[in-house]
């Protein structure tokens, strides 16, 4: 039993339950304020717990499961409340706690309001439930619990998009939930097949067995089912089409969490479940996964280039969503290489993408608030939106996030993609080297295209003539609450870029352990 990890899941759950209790007073405005304050306090407490967890983590043995709890929950199904963290999950838990806290802080000032928007209590309840699901996904070590956590996030995110979103929000939310549910239902079938053949759902026991006891056919079928389910979530091309709509419609905090955490649940599952539990099946599908990843990288950046063109009526949030497809392509490519280098790169790129895209969505969300639209053509006008001149701090942050996203050395985006490509250059024994080198070349092309569209975006949004007629006359620069919630992301992007060993030191032993080498 470990109190910290249990509290990490229990505190937000209690907070969510508390929003149902009549403790916020009769006055709607005051109740909303109190609820949002509760949100900040609870997520702050969770962040402190996550930091405490990281501080208490034995950094000399990141491959070992730490802070474990293992008690029986449903003996009939052999489901155990088995929790634990290692070097793979710890950074993701801290990232999740950080992003949710920053989102809570941000939404305290900037929650979409209006007549048809539900009360802040409902928002807080859903938000905290979402946090429970996200944290649980990274903390549980039982396949059925993993599936349960995977599903917990669906309903809160559905309502966040459908009720607090903008534009075509209801269709986008429906598409999001139906797509992901179809994926996770198929994934469940894979889990049940493994459980049926291996006799246990315990991830650690299954990983220790490393596929022994599962026939090749079983492994291939299970790997296919699980891969499809996780690829929808990641999302891998061609199963990504729910993502742009969901991001365009989602409110800012929804977008941040969707890109920053929810997508990572898919790639984390690949590393935690697919690689160690069904290694033969994974090796069978790795070349295909790599191919889809490479196509996704190029496809994502080409879509972004098309959206960034003048006159294309490209939505900035949509553009970042497509760029996520490309970035997650790097993560998938690294995993598909089945080498420690590639998987480490994938995990690093995971965290980096969470930080950078979180920041990008924050900044773009703020622009959308100020301009009332995220349409690139409307923003930029004839010459460009001239943020450098009109709101220099926001402009600089946007440019910073953009260059971090395109993989400038010294910032977080660089290492993950470099390592993922390095992994593809020299894939694991048994994988076709020419194929993977081709994927690497495609990924390299993707980085060039990525740089192209991000620089176009920077040019069209940050540069330009400040005097030209603009849709909004007075453009407020960085507000204090924005600075508070964005600065940590920028700082961590810089830190991870300059000191990659901080993350790689944690993940490397754990990855080698999962791949069966250590």
């Amino acid at each position: 039993m470990n109190a910290v990890l249990i509290a990490l899941l229990g505190v937000p759950l209690l907070g969510a339950a508390l929003t149902l209790a009549p403790v916020f007073g009769p006055d709607r405005a005051a109740a909303d304020r109190r609820a949002l304050r509760l949100n900040t306090v609870v997520t702050g407490a969770v962040l402190l717990l996550a930091v405490a967890l990281a501080a208490g983590f034995d950094h000399d043995a990141p491959a070992r499961m730490q802070a474990t709890t293992d008690v029986s929950w449903i003996p009939a199904l052999h489901v155990r409340l088995h929790l634990g963290v290692d070097g793979v999950s710890l950074p993701l838990i801290v990232l999740t706690a950080l992003l949710t806290f920053l989102c809570a802080l941000y939404s305290e000032k900037r929650l979409p309001a209006g007549d048809d928007v539900p009360s802040a209590q409902a928002f807080v309840g859903l938000f905290l439930l979402l946090e429970v699901g996200m944290l649980a996904t990274f903390a549980v070590l039982d396949l059925l619990l993993f599936f349960l956590s995977f599903e917990i996030v669906l309903i809160p995110m559905y309502f966040l998009i459908a009720r607090w979103g903008s534009g075509a929000k209801a269709p986008a939310a429906n598409r999001f939930i139906l797509y992901t549910l179809l994926g996770s239902a198929v994934m469940l079938l894979g889990f049940l097949l493994i459980g049926s053949k291996a006799g246990t759902f315990d991830m650690q026991a299954l990983a220790a067995a490393h596929g022994s006891g599962l026939s090749h056919t079983t492994q291939v079928i299970a790997a296919l089912a699980i891969l499809v389910g996780l690829a929808v979530k990641a999302p891998a091309w061609p199963l990504h089409s729910w993502l742009p709509d969901a991001h365009t419609a989602a409110p800012t905090v929804g977008s941040v969490l969707l890109a920053g955490v929810l997508l990572k649940m898919g790639t984390y599952g690949l590393v935690r479940v697919l690689l160690p539990i069904v290694p033969d099946g994974t090796a069978t599908f790795a070349p295909y996964l790599g191919a889809f990843a490479a196509v996704g990288i190029v496809y994502g950046s080409l879509a972004c280039l098309a959206l960034a063109r003048p006159g294309a009526k490209g939505d900035l949030k949509r553009l970042i969503a497509y760029s996520s497809v490309g970035h997650m392509g790097f993560v998938l490519l690294g995993i598909a290489s089945l080498t420690p280098v590639g998987v480490n790169g994938a995990l690093f790129a995971n965290i980096a993408h969470g930080l950078i895209t979180g920041l990008l969505f924050f900044v773009v969300g703020a622009l959308k608030d100020r301009y009332g639209t995220a349409d690139l053509d409307t923003l930029s006008g004839a010459t460009g939106a001239a943020l450098y001149g009109r709101a220099p701090r926001i402009g600089v942050l946007l440019a910073f996030a953009a260059v971090a996203s395109l993989g400038l050395p010294g910032l977080a985006g660089f290492w993950g993609e470099l390592l993922a490509m390095l992994g593809a250059f020299d894939p694991a024994a048994g994988l076709s080297r020419p194929a993977f080198v081709t994927y690497m070349a495609l990924a390299g092309l993707g980085t060039l295209l990525t740089a192209a569209y991000l620089l176009i975006v920077v040019k069209r949004v940050c540069m330009g003539d400040p005097e030209q007629p603009a849709p909004v006359r007075e453009l407020a620069d960085l507000r204090p609450y924005e600075a508070v919630s964005w600065t940590p992301l920028a700082a961590l992007t810089l830190l991870a870029g300059l000191w990659p060993a901080l993350l790689l030191g944690l993940s490397d032993p754990a990855v080698k352990h999962l791949l069966g080498g250590g």
Binding site: L20, W73, I74, P75, A76, L77, D115, D116, P118, A122, L129, G133, L144, F147, L148, E151, I152, L154, I155, Y158, F159, A162, R163, A170, N174, I177, L178, L181, L182, A185, V186, L188, L189, L192, L193, G195, S196, I221
Partner: protein, 537 residues
């Protein structure tokens, strides 16, 4: 009758008794000692039914409210009577010796094993909740009280008897005891719809019964017994020329049960009957009626027709796939703004859920021992019973007058917070998504049964269906929290403001009971899922 039956067994019985003399060797064995404790649950329900009918004659009109309370008390007592039976070894009664396959309880007509107890819990518990739900409806729609409560109790008696019966004759009698009062219950509403619904229900149900009786006749002719265990042995050793007769008999018998479960193609009566019936009766039919049919189907297939396991396993698998697909497609096509659309949606959804309930039964045809997957059906039926009755309860609470559309639920959260949250929870349980954790695990055990039995294709079909079903459950859930459109304030909302704000006691009790049960089960799913670990027989 039983003596004759024993005699008829002679030619096919396998072992020591090659010649059965008509003179009974030990006359004392014909005088049976009845285990009253074992048969207490259906017996108490039956006694309560008679008591209600008699009391109704002597009770002055103003005291007739007590009949409802008497009914609820009777059902509660019957539920309590289940408790002494939960011991390790099953109790059996109405046994005859010398039945082929008569090891253990093979020759008994009534066995209170775990399978029987679980389905009796479902039947009696479902009837109790339906009774609580009815107290308000009976007052409101001015239904004849004595008759209503008597019929409800009678039907519950049959539904409780069926899962414990172990010979085909008792099963038919129990099934009819469960069904015949249900026709009358449906017809109790005094408008055109009620009569039409009852007629549809009656005609198709009686046809199914007739077909089933013919089938049982064939099976008896081919196997020489009515006891389920003996039927299995008889079918295995049946002479070759009787094989076609036996197979036809098995199919015809299953048709009757498939009708009660509302499996496709015997589902068409469901939407019309549910909309025409008083709301609590619709809820009762969707849970208890279905439970009765399901338990009969499970007993007939897994015990009596064991030798044909691969045939009916495949048939049930196809039936399950078609049923869930048709049910969900019907629900998907249901418009939300028409009258009665809420009940119609629940009706179609119950057809879809029946498909999921059939999946473990189909898996039992493929499983080596045959009994293990049944636990998944039992667990899912219990979960479904709780949340579906809860959903019917909310519909009854929101729409005091009949004929609510789904659109009447728009903005319910703003008007009645807890009722809306309860309905949202029930719907998510039906869909199988967290926070409806118990619904999710219910689906997991059904999936597991299919995967364990190697029915991968059925699991994939079901996965697709779960996604389709989520769509309409979610649309309804989203309606609850949607803002009320201006000018679209329905008559319900107006009547709501003017009329009684507080829920009647019966409805509050129903919602409280079902919602707290669903929440408790979500926190501790083991309470219900324990029936899936190990054999029920």
């Amino acid at each position: 009758m039983l003596g004759a039956q024993t005699a008829a067994l002679g030619p096919h019985s396998t072992g020591q008794h090659t010649v059965t003399s008509l003179a009974v060797a030990n006359p004392g064995s014909l005088i049976q000692s009845v285990d009253w404790v074992a048969i207490a649950p259906p017996l108490i329900a039956a006694a309560a039914a008679v008591a209600v009918l008699v009391t109704d004659l002597f009770l002055p009109e103003r005291h007739k409210k007590w009949l409802g309370r008497l009914t609820a008390a009777g059902l509660a007592l019957a539920l309590i009577a289940l408790l002494p039976l939960t011991g390790k070894s099953p109790r059996a009664t109405f046994c005859v010796q010398n039945v082929a396959g008569g090891t253990g309880n093979g020759g008994c007509s009534y066995v209170a094993d775990h399978f029987a107890l679980v389905f009796q819990l479902l039947a009696l518990g479902g009837a109790l909740i339906a009774a609580l739900l009815s107290t308000h409806t009976v007052d409101n729609e001015k239904l004849p009280r004595g008759e209503y409560w008597f019929l409800l109790l009678s039907s519950a008696t049959g539904a409780a008897l069926l899962p414990a019966s172990r010979d085909l004759a008792t099963m038919v009698v129990a099934l009819e005891v469960a069904s015949l009062p249900a026709f009358a219950l449906v017809a109790l509403r005094r408008d055109g719809r009620g009569a039409e619904a009852a007629l549809k229900f009656f005609v198709s149900s009686v046809t199914a019964t007739a077909v089933m009786l013919l089938g049982i006749g064939f099976v008896y002719a081919a196997s020489g017994s009515l006891h389920l265990g003996a039927v299995a042995q008889g079918l295995e050793h049946a002479p070759a020329q009787l094989k076609p007769l036996a197979e036809a008999g098995a199919v015809l018998t299953l048709v009757g049960f498939a009708f009660k479960v509302a499996a496709v193609p015997f589902h068409f009566w469901v939407p019309d009957t549910y909309t025409g019936a008083p709301l609590p009766v619709a809820g009762y039919l969707s849970v208890v009626g279905k439970a009765a049919g399901l338990s009969g189907l499970a007993l007939a297939t897994t015990i009596a027709f064991r030798p044909y396991a691969h045939t009916w396993g495949l048939v049930l698998a196809v039936l399950a796939a078609v049923t869930m697909t048709v049910g969900n497609a019907g629900a998907l096509r249901q418009r939300f703004d028409t009258r009665y659309s809420a009940v119609r949606l629940l009706a179609w959804s119950s057809v879809g859920q029946a498909g999921y309930l059939l999946v473990p039964l189909a898996a039992a045809g493929y499983a080596p021992t045959g009994a293990d997957p049944l636990g998944a059906t039992a667990a899912y039926a219990l979960i479904y019973g709780v949340v579906n009755l809860g959903a019917f309860g909310v519909v009854a609470a929101v729409c005091r007058r009949a004929g609510a559309s789904v659109d009447d639920f728009r903005g319910l959260f703003a008007r009645r917070r807890w009722t809306a949250l309860a309905l949202a929870f029930f719907l998510l349980c039906l869909a199988g998504l967290p926070p409806g954790v118990i619904g999710l695990f219910g689906k997991v055990v059904v999936f597991r049964a299919a995967v364990d039995a190697g029915l991968g294709w059925l699991a994939v079909v079901m996965a697709a269906n779960v996604v389709v079903a989520l769509y309409y459950y979610l649309l309804w859930t989203a309606r609850l929290f949607a803002p009320v459109a201006e000018g679209a304030a329905s008559g319900e909302a107006v009547g709501d403001a003017g009329g009684e704000r507080r829920l009647p006691v019966g409805l509050t009790a129903t919602l409280g009971l079902t919602a707290s049960a669903a929440v408790v089960l979500s926190v501790a799913p083991q309470l219900v899922l324990q029936v899936t670990s190990g054999s029920l027989f």
